[in-house]
C-alpha cells in the first residue's frame, strides 16, 4: 500500500496532464481556439466535445422509405416487362395480364407458346446479392405455373428488400446533393435500420424548407397532352398545380428529369416573373427537339411528381436542348425547384417518421442549466466530502476533479456526443464516483476502530473495499451498456457519460486516492487517522 513506485506516480500525473490538454480546446473561446487550431499539426486530437442537437440546436429528421410504394412500382414495372416480352414474342393472352398485390398472372393456354415464352419471362428474374463475388442470395422473382397454363409471377421478399436497399443508398446520395447545394450547413446523413435515413442538420431553425427538400420526390417528366379520341389505356387524368381540375395526359414519357444536366432559377424576359431554365443532355436534347418538331400545334405537359406544372402549345421546334419552366413561382420557390432538379429525383417516396427540432435558444438554455446544475452539484458533493472526511476528503475531491476531467477527455478522444441527458449523467456520476472513496474510507475507519494500526487499516481498507467496488460498479456499468445498446438519440448520450464515468471513477477513486494517501503517509508519518 505504501510503496508507490515513482514511475506509477509519474504516469498518473502525465495521464492527468494529457487529459487536461485534450480538454483545453473545448474551454477556449471559439476565435482563440480556431486561431490556435490552424497552427496545430493535423494528427493531434485538437478537437472539442461534440454537442448533441439538443444542446446546439438543430433538426433531426428520420425518413422512411415507403416499402409499399416501392413494391407497387416494382409490380408495375414487372407488368410492363411482361407485356414487352409477350409483344416481342407475338403471344396474345386470353384475359390479359392480371395485376396482384405482389406480382402478376398470365394465362398462356397454347402449350408451344408457353414453352417458348416461359424461359424469356424467367430471364426477367435477377439474382440478388453480390454479382462480383458470386454470392447469390436469391432471385428477385418467383414463378409458379399451375394447370391450364396459369403462371403466377411474384416479387420475392429478397427482391423487395433489395429494391428498398437500393432506394435507400440512392436516396442518401440525392439528399446529400440537395442539402449540400443548399448552403453551408454540415449535415449528417446516414442509413438507419433497413429502410430509414437519418438526417441531422445542426443549427437549423426553420425546418419547413428542409422538409420540402427531403420530402419532395422531384420526378420531372415531359409528356404530351392526350389527343381527342385517344385510347383510354394510353393516358391518365392528372391534377394541375395552378388550377383545379384534372386534365388528360399521355402515359408515354418523352424526356425525364434524368436527362437534365442543369437547372437554374432565372427571370422570364417577357413577363418578368421568376422561372427555371434547364439544359438537357445530348440524348434528351435530341428527343425533345424531334418530338417538338413532329408535333407543332399540340400541347406538351411538364409534369412534376404527377402534377402538371404547365402545358404550353408547341409553337416551333425546340432544338439545342434548352428550355424553361414557367409558372406561379417566387424567387425562392424557383430556386428550390432548381436545386431539386439539379440533385435528381428520389427513387422512392420518403415519409417523415420522426422529427425533433430544437431551436438555438432552447439549446443554449439547456447548456446553461446543465452547467449550473453541474457546478452546484459538484460544490455540494465536494463540501460534503470535505466536512465528513477532512484531509481524506480533500484527496477524494482531487480525485473527483480528475474524474470529471477524464470523462470529458475520453469523450473528446472517442468523438462521443454530449447531450443534455449526458450532462445529467455526469452530474449523477459526481454523486456516485465518491462511492468508491466512501467504501474505502469507511472500511479504513472500521478496521482502525477494530484495533488495527494505521498502516494496517489503510492497507485493509483499500484491498477489502476493492472487491466490493468492482462488483457494485459492474452492475451499474451493465445498466449503462444496455442503455447504450437499446437507447435512442440523446439517451445514448446519458449512457455514454454514465459508462465512461463508472470506468474513470474506478481509476481515480482507487488509484489516485491511494497514491495521495501513500504520499501523505510517507511525508506526514501520522500517529492518528484523520477520519
Amino acid at each position: 500500500m505504501l510503496r508507490f513506485a515513482p514511475w506509477k506516480v509519474a504516469s498518473i500525473l502525465i495521464g492527468t496532464l494529457l487529459a487536461f490538454l485534450l480538454v483545453v480546446p473545448s474551454l477556449l473561446p471559439k476565435d482563440t481556439r480556431e486561431a490556435i487550431g490552424r497552427s496545430m499539426p493535423s494528427w493531434l486530437p485538437y478537437r472539442v466535445v461534440v454537442l448533441g442537437l439538443d444542446l446546439q440546436g438543430g433538426a433531426h429528421v428520420l425518413l422512411e422509405v415507403d416499402s409499399a410504394s416501392v413494391l407497387r412500382t416494382q409490380v408495375e414495372n414487372l407488368r410492363d416487362d411482361v407485356r414487352r416480352v409477350l409483344r416481342d414474342e407475338k403471344v396474345s393472352l386470353s384475359g390479359g395480364i392480371g395485376l396482384q398485390q405482389r406480382g402478376v398472372t398470365v394465362r398462356i393456354t397454347n402449350p408451344t407458346d408457353r414453352d417458348r415464352v416461359l424461359p424469356k419471362l424467367q430471364a426477367l428474374s435477377q439474382p440478388i446479392g453480390n454479382a462480383l463475388t458470386g454470392n447469390v442470395a436469391g432471385h428477385s422473382l418467383d414463378f409458379n405455373t399451375t394447370g391450364e397454363g396459369l403462371t403466377q409471377i411474384t416479387v420475392t421478399d429478397a427482391g423487395v428488400a433489395d429494391k428498398v436497399h437500393r432506394a435507400i443508398t440512392q436516396s442518401i446520395e440525392v439528399l446529400r446533393r440537395r442539402i449540400d447545394q443548399d448552403g453551408t450547413t454540415e449535415p449528417n446523413i446516414q442509413q438507419q435500420g433497413n429502410d430509414r435515413i437519418l438526417v441531422e442538420v445542426p443549427g437549423l431553425q426553420d425546418t419547413t424548407k428542409l422538409k420540402e427538400l427531403l420530402g419532395t420526390t422531384a420526378k420531372l417528366e415531359f409528356r404530351f397532352n392526350a389527343a381527342a379520341g385517344a385510347d383510354p389505356g394510353e393516358f391518365e387524368m392528372l391534377p394541375q398545380t395552378d388550377q383545379p381540375g384534372l386534365i388528360p395526359i399521355e402515359k408515354r414519357v418523352i424526356v425525364q428529369g434524368e436527362d437534365l444536366t442543369d437547372a437554374q432559377a432565372g427571370v422570364d424576359t417577357n413577363s418578368g416573373r421568376p422561372d427555371i431554365n434547364f439544359t438537357f443532355n445530348i440524348r434528351g436534347g435530341q428527343r425533345f427537339g424531334q418530338a417538338t418538331a413532329e408535333n407543332i400545334g399540340r400541347q406538351f405537359a411538364i409534369v412534376l411528381d404527377n402534377k402538371v406544372i404547365s402545358d404550353p402549345v408547341i409553337q416551333s421546334p425546340i432544338p439545342g436542348g434548352k428550355g424553361q419552366i414557367t409558372g406561379n413561382y417566387t424567387i425562392e420557390t424557383a430556386n428550390n425547384l432548381a436545386v431539386l432538379l439539379r440533385a435528381g429525383a428520389l427513387p422512392a417516396k420518403l415519409t417523415i417518421a420522426e422529427e425533433r427540432t430544437v431551436g438555438p435558444g432552447l439549446g443554449q438554455d439547456s447548456i446553461d442549466a446543465g452547467k449550473r446544475a453541474a457546478y452546484v452539484g459538484a460544490a455540494l458533493v465536494l463540501s460534503y466530502m470535505l466536512i465528513t472526511y477532512g484531509t481524506f476528503g480533500v484527496f477524494a475531491n482531487v480525485a473527483l476533479a480528475v474524474h470529471i476531467l477524464l470523462i470529458f477527455a475520453s469523450m473528446v478522444l472517442l468523438g462521443a456526443t454530449l447531450t443534455l441527458p449526458g450532462i445529467a449523467g455526469i452530474v449523477l456520476t459526481i454523486g456516485m464516483a465518491v462511492d468508491a472513496n466512501v467504501l474505502i474510507y469507511e472500511r479504513i475507519r472500521e478496521e482502525n476502530h477494530a484495533g488495527r494500526s494505521i498502516i494496517a487499516s489503510l492497507d485493509a481498507g483499500f484491498t477489502r473495499a476493492f472487491g466490493t467496488i468492482v462488483d457494485s460498479n459492474v452492475t451499474m456499468f451493465v445498466a449503462a451498456l444496455i442503455l447504450y445498446l437499446f437507447g435512442s438519440g440523446s439517451v445514448r448520450g446519458f449512457a455514454v457519460s454514465l459508462g465512461l464515468g463508472i470506468l474513470t471513477s474506478i481509476i481515480t477513486a482507487v488509484t489516485m486516492t491511494r497514491m495521495m494517501i501513500a504520499l501523505w503517509f510517507r511525508y506526514r508519518r501520522p500517529t492518528k487517522l484523520p477520519i
Binding site: 439538443d54 422512411e64 422538409k211 415519409t351 417523415i352 417518421a353 420522426e354 422529427e355 425533433r356 427540432t357 430544437v358 431551436g359 435558444g361 432552447l362 438554455d365 446543465g370 449550473r372 446544475a373 453541474a374 452539484g377 455540494l380 458533493v381 460534503y384 466536512i387 465528513t388 477532512g390 443534455l420 445529467a424 452530474v427 449523477l428 459526481i430 454523486g431 462511492d435 466512501v438 467504501l439 469507511e442 475507519r445 472500521e446 476502530h449 484491498t463 477489502r464 476493492f466 472487491g467 466490493t468 462488483d471 457494485s472 452492475t475 451499474m476 451493465v478 445498466a479 449503462a480 444496455i482 445498446l485 437499446f486 437507447g487 438519440g489 440523446s490 439517451v491 446519458f494 449512457a495
Partner: protein, 321 residues
Amino acid sequence: MKLLRLAPENTKFGFMRFRRFSYPFSAILSILSIVMFLGVGMNFGIDFSGGILIEMRAKSGQADLSLLRGLGEKLNIGAIEVQGFGTEGDVSMRLGALAGGDQALQSTVSKLKAAVGDGYDFRRVETVGPRVSGELVQSGTLGVVISILAVLMYLWFRFEWQFAVGAVIATMHDLLLTVGFFSVTQLEFNTTSIAAILTIVGYSLNEAVVVLDRIREMMRKYKKMGIADMIDLSINAVLPRTIMTATTVFLALLALVLFGGEVIRSFSLAMMWGIFVGTYSSIFICTPILIYLGGGYSSESQTAVCRTQGPGRTSADRHRH
C-alpha cells in the same frame, strides 16, 4: 477539525426483525403501484404514444393559453394539451397520435404553426410517428428486461444463487414502485425515463451488492452465528457508507432538480425516488430473502449458502491469510 458524521457509530439495529412489517408494507405498495398503473396509467410522452410536441415562447413574454387551447377545435384536430411551464411566456402544446400516420402529423404541425403565428418562437418541435413510437416502447421494455437478466447472471456468477434472487427481487420491487411513482405523480414518461429506470436498477443493485458482499465476508468469519444476526451485523457495518453515498447522490440530484431545467426534471425526480427506494430495498427486501432461502436460523443451513466458493472468492479473502 471536528468532522461531520451523519450516521451514528457502531449501530446495532435489528433490521431483520422489521421484515414482518417491511414485507407486507412493500407488498401493499407494489400492489398499489400495479393498481395505479393499470387504473390511472402513466402519462406517456410522445416518444411512446406518438404525436406532436411543440414548445414555444411568447415574444411578448405573456402566452395566451386559452387562445392556444381553442386551436384544437378551430383547426378540427382534436384536443390539444396546452401547458404553461417555467416563465409566463413558455408554453408546451401536446397532441396525441392522429389517424393518418406520419403524413397527418406533418400537415398538422404546419397547420398549428401557421395558426399560432409570428407571436411565438418555436423552441422545440417534435413529431413521432406510430411505427417509431412502437419501436421505442419495444426497445425500452427489452432494455429493462435484458439488463435485469444480465445482472442476474453476473450476480449468480459472483455470489450464490440465493444472493442473486434476493437482489433481483429487490430490483423488481424498486421497478414496480418507480412505475407507481410515475403513475401517481403523472410525470411525463419518455425515453429519458427509461434511462432513469435503468439507472435506478443499477443503483439498487449497487446497494444490494455492497450489503451482500459484506454478508458473504461475515459468513466466512463467523461460521457459528445465526443468519439473521449476521445480516444485521453486516448491514450495521456498512450503514455509514450507505447513508454517506445516498447523501452524495441525493445532493447531486438535488442540483439537477433545482437547476437542471425542465427537460430533465422528470428524470431527476424519478432518480431521487429511486435512491430512497433502492436504499430501503437493499436493507429490508433483498437481505431477508437469504433467511427464507437459507432455511432459517440454524447454522447448518446457513453454511449451505456459503459452502461452495467457486468464482465467488473476493480479493479480500485471498488477503486474509
